[in-house]
Amino acid sequence: MAGEPGTPGPGTAGGVRVPPVVLKTLITVVVGTVAYVVTNLIDQSEDELWKLAMSVVIGGAALIVQYMVDFEKRLDSVETGQRNQTRVLGDQFIQLSEAAALLNELDQAGMSTGDARRLIKSASQVGLQGPDIVKAFARAEIESLASVVTDLTGMTAHWQRDNNEWLIRLTGCAQRTIDATSSSVDRPFWDTDPAGHYLDAQIEAMRDPGVHIRRLFMINADEESDPNFMIRFTALCQGQLDLGIKVRFMVLSPHRHTRAAARDIVIFDDALYLEFEPDRQQSYLQTRLDADARRVDVQVRRFNDLWESAAEPAPRPEPSTRPPAR
């Protein structure tokens, strides 16, 4: 009789919500009570009762044995499955450690893991929905920065145009000094929109980390002899002086200075420099970022030499000069 309540066992064991042992015991008690009542009701013929009791006991026992065998098998299969799963998970953990290593590398590099996560997350989600071209564009943007940064591991990177964004962002990154030579190539630059952003960034840099900015203008002899040019040029210099930028200028003589002297170079924190190189027709510009210690030293010394020999700009000629290039 105790066996009969065992049959609902698998059902209750499946959902482990109520303590299953309690439930089973309760059912056993209930069934036992019912059986007791039934036996009392058919008390008259004891033989019949015994036959009934024995058949129930044997049937129940058979059921229990079957159920137990079945249960053992199922438990085995669950345990085997769990072992397999553990193995698979273990493999996944090994792969995961690559991802973890990636993040770890970034941590060690001083980059906040949050940034890396952000990049990984956004890079993997972009273009999941929406047109293919968005995805292609995003990939191209990643590739472009990746190749620049890869180049920078060799301490130098090129950009096939005048990269004013780099100029502005490096200005934002500078902590101590910005030394710039500005030749004829970039003087029209001062009237453009990026120049405004560049000046803003310089004002910001001078105010907050207290960066010292020196700008050395290079003009050639023809320009120096043109009074109109000199008026404009003086106004430009004064405009920058007013902002707190130290300005000097020098006249390039074709005899003393090679073409190399006229290149536009901006040195940041004496640690890296941006060089704007014109091509032969002076129409294409390419931008080079160089952080090689030896080459930076050469540029720093060159700048300091030039600065020593350069002249202070003339004082403001008349009050009605143009405002600064911005």
Binding site: E79, L106, M111, L119, V126, G127, G130, D132, Q175, L272
Partner: protein, 257 residues
């Protein structure tokens, strides 16, 4: 008889106790198992999500970028800071792109160039401000034209519609049109005063639609001193550009070379 009853009762009691114990042990084993599995999965699910993301990027520039950024940790501080700032900017840019929209101040020739290089099917451009970019001598215009030529070689169709106010202005565009045709760009010139009034309405802005799926537009503020670039891949934003281009294109005769 009494003995038999006692034996049966004893067996039944013992059996019951046995069953209860077996059941209890089975249940506790199952519980242990379940907890072990749950714990494992809880551990792994967060990591798996991240891993799945990394896995998808395996062929991308991201791991390369991260490796290179790590290698730079030995470099000067300002270089490191610059690179991290660039990576952060890229992440923000990509986040915007996830939303199919990106904006930036100024005219972004890099985006224009990159999008041209990404195009597979078509580039449809309306150009109203011919003076600044297409004088042909500046580097970025030359590179843009070259990129369009490459797109055409890949099998994309490039259509450029110049919009001018008067017929006289169209003449100035001839050398420009010739240069564009030489790389295979289909060029038409729409003269506003010749167009039916229905087509003259609406803002005449510069825009480019790539693959019929992404629009690139440059907005100028009223004084023309400041502009911003916006790219948008939402169908409901791109659709008006596509239909406007088609309308203007079909209303215009192919220009004589």
């Amino acid at each position: 008889m009494r003995l038999l009853v006692a034996v049966v009762a004893a067996v039944l009691c013992a059996g019951t106790v046995l069953m209860v114990r077996v059941t209890a042990s089975v249940v506790s084993r199952l519980n242990d198992l379940r907890q072990a599995v749950d714990r494992r999965f809880a551990d792994i699910s967060a990591a798996t999500r991240l891993f799945a993301q990394v896995e998808k990027l395996r062929g991308d520039g991201v791991p390369r970028l991260v490796d290179a950024a790590e290698a730079l940790s030995a470099g000067p501080g300002i270089l490191r800071e610059f690179v991290y700032a660039e990576i952060d900017r890229l992440a923000a840019h990509l986040e915007n792109l996830t939303d199919s929209v990106a904006e930036c101040p100024g005219e972004n020739h890099d985006w224009l160039l990159t999008l041209t290089r990404c195009t597979r099917k078509s580039i449809d451009a309306v150009t109203t401000t011919v003076v600044d970019d297409y004088s042909g001598s500046t580097g970025s215009a030359g590179r843009y034209l070259a990129a369009q030529g490459e797109a055409i070689e890949r099998g994309a169709s490039v259509r450029r519609l110049f919009v001018v106010q008067r017929s006289a202005q169209a003449a100035a565009l001839v050398p420009l049109c010739t240069a564009q045709r030489q790389v295979g760009v289909q060029v038409r010139v729409a003269v506003l005063e010749k167009l039916p009034p229905s087509l003259r309405r609406g803002a005449m802005t510069d825009f480019v639609v790539f693959d019929g799926a992404l629009s690139y537009e440059v907005d100028f503020d009223p004084l023309g001193s400041y502009c911003s670039t916006r790219i948008d891949a939402h169908a409901h934003r791109v659709e008006p550009f596509v239909s406007r281009f088609d309308l203007l294109w079909n209303a215009t005769e192919p220009a004589d070379s």
